[in-house]
Every structure is written in C-alpha cells, then in structure tokens.
C-alpha cells in the first residue's frame, strides 16, 4: 500500500547568552576546551538553598526568535518544573515552560521542489540544558555540569511535515534564521541544534492520524533526514505486513542507520509539571516587546528577494549571500562602495560567491573577521575594471590580501602585477614579436588566421603577463594590418 507520513519536529537550540538561564555562570560557546565542571555555581549544581533567577537576555532572544517565526509573543510567561530523576538533571526537575510558553502560533514557509509550503509552529519556549554524561569503559559514568543550566529554546511544529525533504528544508531554514538572529552559531557538530521527530504514517488519502513514534538523538541534518526516512519505511513495512505501530520513543543509531526502541508508552514519564514557585510569572510589558521587535533584523527569505530586486543580481547568488547575515551585510556594504566607481553589483556577487567563497572554504573561516574587507574587494574590482590588472592577476592579489590583509594596490606593486597599458611600449613589444617570428608572420599573411592567437600569447609572454589583453589585441591587429598593406 502507499502511505503518507505525518511528521512534527521539536528542535532544541542553544542560546548564546553570556550567562546561563538561571545563574551567572558563563555559557560555553564551544565544547571540549574547558575542563569539566568549570562553569558551575550553587545554582546550576542544585546545591541546597540555591535559587534560579531568570536571564532577561535569554528571554529577549526567545522573543526575537518567536517574532522571526511569526509567533504571538505571550505577555504572561510562566516557568514550570518538569520532574524526572536522571544524573544529568541536578535538581531532579528541569525548569521549562508548559501552559504559557513565550511564543506560540507561528509559521515558516519552506520551499521544496519549487513549491512553497507553510509549516505551522505550535510554540517556542525557554528551558535549561542538562549536564553532559561521560560513560567510561569500566561502566562508571562521570557528569560535567558546564552545560547544565545553559539556556535552550525549544521550537515545536504542528504535524505539518510529510517527507524527509520537507523536514530537511524546514530544519535548514530554521538554522539559517537562528544564526541570523545570533541565537547560536548553528554548528551542528557542537550540538547547537538537536532534533526530535514525531513520525506516523497513514494510508495515502486518509485524514486519520497513525500511531506516533518519537525519535530522539537526531543531532545532524543527515541523522534527521535518515532517521525520519528510515522510520517512515519501517512503519510502512510494518503496516504492510499486518503489524501494528506501537506508540514509543525510539533512539537513532547513526553509524548503523536504524531506529531502536528506548521507552514504550507504559513506561512513559509523568513529568508532574507545575508552575515554578521560585520564579514569579514573568510579565512582558508592551514597551519591552516593542524594544525587542526593533532589534529584529531582516530575515533570510525577505533579504534574498530584496537582493535580487534592489541590485538585480541572480537569484542563485542572492540565495547564497542571504543565507548568512554577515555575508549579506558584507555584500551590501561592498556594493554601496562600488556604486560611485560604477562597479556592477553582479560583479561584486560573482567575486564573492566565486573566489572569496573558495578562499573562505579552503581556510574553513567565516566571513566575519575576514582580512579581505569590503573596501579591499572594491579596490580590487576597480583595478580590474580600469585595466590596471588582469582578472587572473586579481585572483592572485585576492589570495594575497586574504592572508596578509594588505591593500590590493600594495600587493599589485609588491608583486609587480600591474598591466602594461603604455601604448608605445606595447607597440614596441608587438613589433619585436613580429620581427622575431617571420615564419609565423608569413603564415598569417598568407591567410592562416589561427596564428593570431599564437601571436597574442607571444606578446603576453614577452610582457610576462602584464600586457593589457584588450590593448594588446588592438595593437596587434593594427600592426598586422600595416604589415599586410606594406607587403602588397
């Protein structure tokens, strides 16, 4: 039988505030380098008597994200305790939000195969991260509380997704938005985003919901799409063979590529949510919400369309540039500088998505902090435009500037890459080449046009590549015509 899948996605995104959700400890922006249990205090270790205090900046970033996801920002925010015992949860409960989340009823429009689909977002709420467990070979477990209490944003969709491709498109767009907003760096390997998918299948055309299976530990786009795809196939095959899908929680084994049962419905937790009495209901007054809204930047989808309409660059380039806020900012700064010099925005885009991207990728560096500033890029393009250097020399200059951060002019001088645009000197050079190669000259004059290209090459070589190609062509053309007429 043919089946349709119904998928809802929960995303846990780290929030990169300076301090944790409920205490003054630093938030680790990176894992690994910091010794275990360095960023800890009585609050995030749950020492007796310690109390949580809400990090207002985390609330603001949560609001900002809610706004970007077209959600309603709820003015009354209630934190709640979610109780369960586990060594990674020092208080024995997680402070989260339940009845009254920060944001609700939003959506994101995704594009799959050229079609736009609206994915509704049920809610986005704040909570705290758990500690990290290290399982030792001898069976012991060690706990690192550096991450414990770091702010998290949980973003939950309605079951509006139907294929692994849609899931991927949604997750990718969400990541782009989170990075745009500066919520986190979007580095999946460092756990900036973690996914849980609720997957069910139903016979094609049915409007009933099938039994839902929750898949946990999907920690990369690859795991997410593979896990969802696997689960759709598994449930379809199970139903085809007359089986019944159990409501359960599954884990995902990335290396072996299959889902496995973690917890069945009978063992489902009763989290015993109740309002957190240590934190009074947080009232977001309209002035605060408005101030946060003013912080909201233009988002990737809107920016992409503006880049094409405002600058007339190709849609593909606009998408590449708009995917990263810093890149798009860089592009617009550069284009503005280039305007007075009559540099075309498309040329700026070409150089960015071509050579500059190549250099950044090779060095595995972001645009932020790149030594090639927009000023440098524009100066370089201007040198090319006025013929001071050739396009190929410009690539060389760019890679130099990328390393040293020198002005392109300085590099051109240092490497002697300026083109020879002196007409007299070029005339002399062309004359010299023609004189030194009488055989080829005769062949050309006899009508062998293919020798033309060879002469151009010879002049370029004689100039050590500095001859301005356009001028060279003009002078060579004239000189050859002169020889032809003097011969006849």
């Amino acid at each position: 039988m043919e089946y349709d899948a119904v998928i809802g996605l929960e995303v846990h995104a780290q929030i990169h505030t300076h301090t944790k959700m409920f205490c003054a400890c630093h938030v680790m922006k990176d894992t690994g380098d910091i010794p275990p249990n360095t960023y800890v205090c009585p609050v995030c270790l749950a020492l007796p008597g310690a109390l949580p205090v809400v990090n207002r900046r985390a609330v603001e970033i949560g609001m900002l994200t809610g706004m970007a996801l077209h959600c309603t920002i709820n003015t009354t925010n209630v934190f709640a305790r979610k109780s369960y015992f586990y060594p990674d949860l020092p208080k024995g409960y997680q402070i989260s939000q339940y009845d009254l989340p920060l944001a609700s009823d939003g959506y994101l429009d995704i594009e799959v195969d050229g079609e736009t689909r609206r994915i509704r977002i049920r809610r986005a709420h704040l909570e705290e991260d758990t500690a990290k467990l290290y399982h030792l070979d001898d069976g012991r477990v060690q706990v690192d509380f550096n991450r414990a209490g770091a702010p998290l944003l949980e973003i939950v969709t309605e079951p509006d997704l139907h294929t692994a491709e849609e899931v991927r498109a949604y997750a990718t767009l969400l990541r782009t938005i989170l990075v745009y907003l500066g919520v986190n760096t979007g580095d999946m390997e460092k756990g900036m985003m973690r996914f849980e998918a609720n997957v069910s299948v139903r016979p094609r055309g049915s409007t009933l919901f099938g039994t839902r299976v929750e898949i946990k530990n999907l920690n990369s786009f690859r795991s997410l799409t593979r896990g969802v795809e696997y689960e759709i196939q598994r449930q379809s095959a199970l139903l085809d063979s007359g089986g019944v899908v159990e409501q359960e929680t599954m884990g995902w084994n990335e290396s072996a590529g299959y889902t496995y049962p973690q917890r069945s419905k009978e063992h489902a937790h009763d989290y015993r949510y109740f309002p957190e009495p240590d934190i009074p209901p947080l009232q977001l007054d309209p002035a605060w919400i408005a101030a946060v809204r003013a912080e909201l930047p233009e988002l990737p989808t809107e920016r992409r369309s503006r880049l094409t309409t405002q600058y007339g660059i190709r849609a593909y380039d606009a998408e590449l540039l708009a995917a990263d806020r810093a890149l798009a900012d860089y592009f617009e700064v550069a284009v503005k500088m280039g305007q007075e010099l009559a540099l075309a925005p498309q040329d700026v885009a070409n150089w960015m998505t071509g050579e500059l991207f190549r250099l950044l990728n090779e060095a595995n560096r972001p645009i932020t902090g790149c030594r090639v500033t927009p000023e440098h890029l524009i100066a370089l393009l201007f040198l090319v435009q006025k013929g001071t250097i050739s396009a190929s020399a410009a690539k060389k200059v760019l890679s130099e500037v990328f390393v040293t951060g020198e002005a392109p002019n300085t590099v051109v001088k240092r490497l002697g890459l300026a083109q020879m645009s002196d007409t007299d000197a070029l005339h002399a050079l062309v004359a010299q080449v023609l004189d030194q190669n009488p055989i080829q000259l005769a062949q050309y004059l006899e009508g062998k046009e293919s020798v033309w290209g060879w002469f151009v090459g010879q002049v370029m070589r004689a100039s050590q590549g500095k001859a301005n190609p356009t001028q060279t062509r003009e002078i060579l053309q004239k000189s050859l015509e002169q020889r032809r007429s003097s011969q006849s």
């Binding site: 020492l47 008597g49 310690a50 024995g92 109740f274």
Partner: protein, 485 residues
C-alpha cells in the same frame, strides 16, 4: 556575670556599647550556659565554640575601632535550614549528613555583616516538616519550660535555645507556622515576615511559595532589630520584594489608640484549650483598654487552610527534595543500577514524615490528579487570601491565638500525623496568604506553660504588627518570665 545569657539583645548592646562587657564575656557566658543545660534541652545540632569565640574577639576589636554595626558581638543561633559557608548544614536530615556548603544564605550573610556572632546550628524537624522537632533526623529537642514537653516546630531548636538562655536570639524559618508556633510554646516573640520580605537564597527549601526566614527573640524590639538586619531585596531571589525596608525600631510606639483590631470568629472554636482562649481574650481586653477598637471579622475559608496547605506544601516539597539523590553531596547508598541507588539513598536518608509528604505531593501533582488536588488547592488559596484582603479593609491588624494548645508532651502526637498537623491550624492561613504575622507571650496555662498571641497585618505592613505587639508588651510582663531551668 553569670546571667549575661538572660539579657535581651538590646540590653546586651547597651552594655557592650557602654564598655561594661565585651562580646567575648557575653559569648563565653552563653557557651557556659550551653555547657550547663544543653544535655537536657538538646537545642543544637552543632555548637561552633571556637569559631564563636573568634568572632567575638573580632567583634570586640571592631567595636574598639568605632564600628557601630547593629548586631556587633551579639551571639545568635541559626536553624540548620540555613546554608552556612564551611559549616555542616543538614536541615535536620540524615541525607545531608556531612554536607558542608560553599556559600552563606543571604540572611546569614546579612547577620554576619551586621556583626552577629554565630553560636551554632539548631535542631529542627527534618526539612522543616513538623510541629514538635520530633521529626529531626538526629534527636528530639526538649522544651526548657518542661523538659518532658516539645518546644514546637519546626524551628524548635532555635526556640528552645533562646528560651533556655543558649542564645540571645535566633533565626528560624516559617512555612506554615514553624517560627510562630515554637515561639508560642517557648514563650518568645517569633516573626513570620511578609512572603518575599526576606531572601530565601540559601534557605534549604521545603515549600518555595511559603518558606520565609524569621527571627525568634525575647522581646518585640529584639525581633524587630533582627528583622531589620535580615530583610530587604536580594537579586538572587526572584520572589523577594524590591520595596525598601522601613525603620521598624523607630516605628515602635506604645500607642494603639484608634487602632482597629480584627477578631476572627473562626479562631475561637472548639479544640482551643480554654487557658489559651482566656489568655487571648484577656490580651484583647488589654489592648481595648489602651484605646484600640475590637471588630469581629470573618475569614470564612479558614477551615480549608489545612487541606490546602497539605496539598501545596508537599507538592512543592516533592520537587524541592528531588535534588537529594546521592549524586553530588550528602548520603549515598550504592546500588546495582542508578534507580536502585536513588531508592536506597532516599529510603535511608529521609525520615518517615518526609517520605510521607513526598508521596503526598507526588500524588497531588500526578497526571489525572493535578486538577483535582494541586490546582484546586491553588484556587482555594486565592480565596483564603481574599478573606484577608476583605478583612483588612475593615481592620488594621487581626489577632487570635498562635497555637490552639500549649506545649504537648514528647511522643503525645507522633502516632497520628493528622493530630500533629492540627498544631499549626491557626498559623497556616497567614502563610498561604503571604502576609506577616508574629507571636508574642500573652500568658501561661495552669502548668505555667507559655501561651502565644498571634498578630497578623497586611502584606509589607510589619510596622503595624510590631506597634501593636510592642504596645501590648509594654503594658504586660509576660515577656520577662524565664523558664525554671
């Protein structure tokens, strides 16, 4: 010098300031008194003899240098609920045995900054769950007025210490009466401030929406001074009030003319010991004779205070006590699996009353029961609060008994938990409403056991409550009685 331990804080301060005694004299006198009576009273879990002497010498040095900190050199006892840096803190529970906190509770910090000498940590019902201090995970405390009787609870150790002359004053915590009821049973002034008036940071939580630190002292002025020192906003406690703390001492005037005193009919019911009712009625007459007006008021939802309290407090406790899992501090009983370790640790570390309340609270929050129990209790709590709001539209303060009975015998109520819960019947509703209330001595029963008068005021109106108490105290001598120890 041998009766220095009997001084009020104010008397001790004036003698210290006059240079008649040193803090070292005072502290030594108290340590000697502890030495003499502690075996019978059992008020302390830990006496910090060396540290107290060191603090006393330091206080004397500061005083010599002109330091005028409000509690400089005054020996004070702390309930073991308060986290104390470098000093074992158990909250009366075996599960925290050996736990040494790396930080001071905010109120402890404030006492230390004010120059107080910390004598030790006092006994209590485990995690403040109890009304007799018999639920201590270590040993029961005895009432200095009659060693066969309980001092009340849960701050029974603090109350007994002050009553026995083992401290000039003490801090306790009040969740449903745990400062006021032992103050009543031990003949002291005990204050429960407005919820949020004092920081709860570092107070080991029993029920977060109810817990408040509060002083136990021999006089109203002493209690007001202690509250002055510990009250105030704390950025570490999101539920603490940002409002400025008024000058409580400056406001003490022995004048109640024109004051309207609410007398709730619900507080004079069967089950109140006749001696207690009489003492309270007499006290009301004293105030009336001084010019106050008595107004009968009604608090119709009072009868629900007990069930509401015993749903909300255990529900919050069930989560608050989840952190005692043997993972990071305190007791750990190893097990083959993590679940077994949790079960063995908590089974061995918690006493029966704590386990009972964790089970009650867990049940009240469980899926399918939440609406009927926890949520309903919260709704009724709102009604209890509006009872007070309405009453305070007519009157300035509300007065009644603190405890329906005087100190009962050790073991008398331990068999039946509900009977023990009834000991707090008059102190629960103020806690649920978040309003301030205090208890002060207003008489004694046929056996000479103290009786307490409870005065409640609207939120943040501690001044009003202190004024009435001070006026009554000035007009009577009950506060001068000392136990025959």
């Amino acid at each position: 010098m041998d009766t220095l331990y009997d001084l009020t804080v104010h008397a001790a301060l004036s003698r210290l300031n006059a240079g008649e005694i040193s803090s070292l004299d005072l502290t030594q006198a108290l340590l000697a008194r502890i030495q003499a009576v502690e075996n019978n009273v059992c008020a302390y879990l830990r006496v910090l003899e060396e540290d107290a002497l060191k603090q006393a010498r330091y206080a004397d040095q500061r005083r010599a240098e002109g330091d005028l900190s409000p509690l400089l050199g005054i020996p004070i006892a702390l309930k073991d609920t308060f986290s104390t840096k470098g000093v074992e803190t158990t909250c009366g529970s075996q599960i925290l045995r050996g736990y040494i906190p790396p930080f001071d509770a905010t109120v402890v910090r404030r006492l230390k900054d004010a120059g107080a000498v910390i004598l030790g940590k006092t006994n209590q019902d485990e995690f403040a769950m109890g009304s007799s201090t018999e639920n201590s995970g270590f040993f029961p405390t005895h009432n200095p007025w009659d060693l066969t009787r309980v001092p009340g609870g849960s701050s029974g150790g603090s109350a007994a210490a002050v009553a026995a002359g083992e401290a000039l004053a003490a801090l306790g915590t009040d969740t449903g009466g745990s400062v006021r009821q032992p103050a009543s049973l031990c003949g002291l002034v005990g204050v429960r401030p407005t919820y949020g008036r004092c920081s709860r940071y570092g107070l080991i939580a029993f029920a977060s929406s109810l817990d408040q630190p509060g002083p136990l002292a021999r006089t109203v002025a002493d209690a007001a001074l202690l509250l002055q020192v510990i009250a105030g906003h704390d950025p570490r406690d999101g539920t603490s009030w940002p409002d400025a703390v008024p000058d409580y001492l400056a406001a003490l005037r022995a004048d109640v003319r024109g004051l309207r005193i609410g007398v709730p009919k619900e507080y004079f019911v069967t089950g109140v010991q006749p001696d207690v009712e009489k003492a309270v009625r007499d006290a009301l007459n004293v105030l009336q004779n001084m010019g106050a007006e008595l107004v009968e008021v009604t608090l119709p939802h009072s009868e629900y205070a007990l069930p509401v309290y015993y749903l909300i407090a255990p529900a919050e406790a069930s989560a608050n006590l989840a952190r005692f899992d043997g993972m990071r501090y305190g007791l750990r009983k190893e097990g083959a699996t993590i679940e077994e370790m949790y079960a063995r640790t908590r089974g061995a570390g918690f006493g029966p009353e704590v386990i009972r309340r964790i089970m009650l609270g867990t049940y009240a929050l469980s899926a399918g029961y939440y609406d009927a129990y926890y949520l309903k209790a919260q709704q009724v709590r709102t009604l209890i609060k509006s009872d007070f709001d309405r009453a305070f539209e007519q009157v300035d303060v509300i007065i009644g008994p603190t405890s329906p009975v005087t100190a009962f015998r050790l073991g008398e109520r331990t068999a039946n938990p509900l009977e023990m819960y009834l000991a707090d019947i008059f102190t629960l509703s103020q806690a649920l409403a978040g309003i301030p209330a205090l208890s002060l001595p207003c008489g004694c029963d046929a056996q000479g056991l103290p009786i307490g008068l409870q005065i409640a005021a609207p939120a943040l109106h501690e001044v009003r409550m202190f004024q009435v108490a001070y006026a009554y105290e000035q007009a009577t001598t009950w506060h001068t009685r000392r136990p025959p120890l």
